[in-house]
Symmetry: D2
Subunit: 343 residues, 4 copies
């Protein structure tokens, strides 16, 4: 069966990268105990702890919807609330999953033109109400990089976490493309997580080159109490866990987790560089990770569609292009050429 010509509508249009595949293959040799008591799972968790220079508690979930929703549910009760950006994936694209997993926690949405939360926006929401008729703020969630492709610096995160601490809020990071932020900042994963005050990270494996599987890291291990039960009850404990864990081993031990992200970022820069000189179109946001948001007249967008390009459209007429580990340079240049010819 033929798949489709490469597209940049989403980085989950990509398949499994060679390093993850090789580990999958190795893990498929023979029998293994189930439910995460196998060596692959231990090795993956240890690998993550080593990468983060931390004794974090590590769990694996099938996808980001579940990883983020379970993590948030573990940080708050149903009558608490979660502060997020108006473009946060948990608010815009999870079909109410955080509310479902938490049995009712409300998301408090900060208007954020560029998708980045700020200490001030957090404070404004957190202190806007303190009566019993409104769910008590308990958690802040930031997406790193943001859904708009921007990256929080370590200092920005430290300022956010300081505000959280002051206001009694926990800090959660949706890291669906966390590796891309590390690649951009050229920093240690610890620098933008626990060293910057993040309590819990959901580290995305799927968009990084795996088939399925996200890691949840509790840097404040007290917060992870009974989290394994939570995963099990919520349908997120894989019986053949080795197939979720092994690809992580492959990614971590080979360095592919970072290499893949560097490639995606470079591809975004490549497209951006070809868009910037053009008139009539432009970039909606600075390109800091693996996303390019093209601002263009509808005629241009329609022209791209007519030439077979797939993409999501965004706020006020933009098109999003995302670059995965397998993005081909020639195909990016084809896209750039098509944009150029349509302007």
């Amino acid at each position: 069966m033929a798949n489709i010509p490469q597209q940049f509508a989403s980085d989950n249009y990509a398949g499994i990268c060679p390093e993850a595949w090789a580990a999958l293959q190795a893990a498929n040799d023979g029998s293994s105990v189930a439910y995460g008591n196998d060596d692959w799972t231990i090795r993956a968790a240890d690998g993550l702890r080593a990468l983060f220079e931390s004794d974090a508690q590590v769990f694996f979930a099938f996808n980001g919807t579940a990883a983020n929703s379970l993590a948030l549910a573990s940080l708050c009760q149903s009558y608490h609330s979660v502060i997020c950006s108006s473009s946060a994936h948990v608010e815009t694209d999870e079909c109410g999953a955080p509310e479902f997993f938490s049995n009712g926690s409300k998301l408090l949405v900060a208007p954020t033109p560029d998708g980045k939360l700020t200490p001030q926006a957090i404070r404004d929401l957190a202190i806007s109400r303190s009566d019993i008729h409104f769910p008590k703020p308990r958690v802040v969630t930031v997406t790193q990089p943001t859904e708009t492709g921007l990256v929080y610096t370590p200092d920005e995160l430290k300022a956010i976490s300081a505000t959280c601490r002051e206001l009694g809020l926990k800090l959660h990071m949706d890291g669906a493309r966390f590796a891309h932020a590390c690649a951009t900042l050229d920093c240690a994963p610890a620098d933008i997580t626990w060293r910057a005050g993040v309590d819990v990270l959901c580290f995305g494996g799927t968009k990084n080159g795996m088939a399925v599987g996200e890691a949840v890291l509790f840097f404040d291990t007290a917060l992870s109490e009974d989290f394994g039960y939570r995963c099990k009850q919520a349908g997120q404990l894989a019986s053949k866990m080795r197939f979720l864990a092994a690809p992580w081993v492959g990614m971590l031990e080979s360095g592919a987790w970072l290499k893949n992200a560097q490639h995606g970022n470079a591809c975004a820069k490549r497209l951006a560089a070809q868009i910037e000189p053009l008139t009539g179109v432009g970039l909606m946001f600075p390109v800091e990770a693996n996303a390019v948001f093209l601002r263009a007249p509808e005629a241009v967008l329609q022209g791209l569609r007519d030439r077979g390009w797939l993409f999501y459209t965004f706020i006020g007429g933009g098109a999003r292009f995302m670059f995965a580990w397998d993005a081909k340079v020639e195909r990016i240049d084809e896209l750039a050429a098509d944009i150029r010819s349509l302007v």
Copy 2:
């Protein structure tokens, strides 16, 4: 990394079978659209419809916990109840998942010495209470084969579904090892599902030779309304869905779904045949699928453990052995020899 010598503690100790693996590999060639709008997913759903001679609505979930819990939740509201056997996996081994996904539906447990529900047991529970202070029975769930390794015949299922219809109950089938029942009965899948009155089937892929992935089939398609949203919200919509779907294509098109089950069943028979002549030990249940429940004194069980065998112990001193697609005859014979020598 080495996995472990083959064990029969669970059929999810096995890896991915060659036919599923080949499809996984084929699916990994290039780009694909996400969230189940790809050709692999369509082909898998069509393949299941063909196998079941039905226009069923088909969905895929990551694991059995979720597949069964979501299916049950779609059939009842929080104040309804679900009738099941006392050995039903949903009651004994899902950490409250059905209650979680349904937001509170209670399981009404029928005492069933051999794990099989009967029309009478269903009726007794269904009519035991009709006041508003007790959750209203709405669904019956049967496991085929049962957790004890027994198989419902088409006639038994028809009798159950007739009782369900009479009492206004829907009929759900937990088919974690559904293929093994088909292999035992040598019947069409339709004969023990919709033709016998089953409304919804969860067809297990994991124990049949896949890495992850269960299929949910709604034979009464009206019951599937908005089920896709339910899956998404509950963290069960895979972004790279092709990797859940393609193995199904491989299993169905190659016939491995049935061949694997036949092998597992034959292995169970092989072990049982070597146990039956022995004195002091015996079979707890007739061997009708891929499970053998060994009744044995604790000394024998401990002896097996001492020789390195892994297994779950069961009601009153039994040991469960389960046989997957990859069970090796020599290893079964080793186990049989060890039992023999310990008696």
Copy 3:
């Protein structure tokens, strides 16, 4: 124990009106069967059906939080969404109750400067997304009168319900002060409920002069299936139901339900009439029910507080005053005089 001097911060600062009290007293004579199978409950439900000229299914809940949340939960599943005004009580003052009772239904908030939903606002939200990653719109809720004290006319409601029908949405009415809308419009209750296309009404008793108790009326009786179980499970079935029901009998049979509302409305008009001539202060919204929203500089508001007045402050510096069945004319004039002297 002394209560406080009369205040207009909320209409639930008032006690039980004489007609409700008399019925409570009558109901307290002797024994009665429990859980709503008593004559008082039947008589109250019949009385509501007569008032609404409808064979509606009628249920009673303890308070408005529960009545509205249970009604909404009965109209949607966890992955559906509810369209409401940005000033809707269910959004702003229920601590996430609708999300809790529905296990995750999201509220989609239409920006409504004056608190009134419009067909256009509903349509915009309802068609903004149709993908599986966003909860499917299923219900519209309007508050009659609105939280801003405005009243929907029958024609406005008909236009809204026509839009709902077209888009496949159910229409729920939060009638915490429903009687006040009837008093304002001088119309039959049916004219602004089922005749205008409302499916379910929560008719507030507490703010109308009772101690506790709201009625939920399902005009589309098919929607009420098993709603009694829902109430029971959610802790809203009173054992001594007669004490919730009897006050309704007293209110309905005496006409107090309307008389009380007329009084509250007249009181609001009285205060408004004394504010309108003043300069420097004004009305934030037209006075159409029993609420007055005073726009005034902070110095004036502080002056009122200093003189012992209690009130809620609102968007951009306003003060809300609400008038219940027991509002005393002299006390209103005291308030007006204080405002006047502070301007």
Copy 4:
């Protein structure tokens, strides 16, 4: 409207006792702040703290379903479990409310012939499973007096709480008829609650002579964190809270809480004394509180029904009679005479 001749089917067939009524009337004089910030609520909470010689955190809920379910939900997460007796009201008569409020916590039911939990029964259930596939035991709930009308002594409770502490379990008491236990034991409320190791008590007001209203007392105040939000979100915060609180003031300050219970207990003894000499019928359980369980042939029970008596039938052919504050001696003797004449 006529209520019915006195019946003993349930103690919630009784109305509001004079002391509660008088307080209700006093509370209805004038205005009061809402949502529990009024003086009546403070006075009721203080009165309960004085009665219990404790600085407990006190909350009020509308009914027992909600009080117990919210208390249990505050003690466990959805993947935890609650150990209870097989005759516990939370298991048999709450339509799945504990599962609903907790979003899925499972009740682990100990078979208890007489309705009383024992340290051994608790231990057996608590240690029966410790794997992640089964909800982790977290709370024990006892009903005092039991649903069978038996009373736990302080020593029995201390033994239970010692087991709880050892096993890491919290101890909750469903005190729907708590006053009756105090009356039977002639002990201080503290003796059978916090002094005996109870963490949370739901103290029933309805069956003690009020219209609605139960008190939740957290003796371990750390466990009550944000419980007010929980009540609000779950529809259990009364706007006119004074009408829930004032009857408590009336009951506590007058001593009616105990007097009513003593009367109910004495009535049960009176009926029991007339049953005991009879042959062919008998008592199912010792009479220790305000319940009598009559063991009698179906012909006798039907004879009672034919003479107009209402009652619930119980395990194996028994009839339950419950005596409230208003039970009339002559009416009890009528019942006894009817039983006698039917034997």
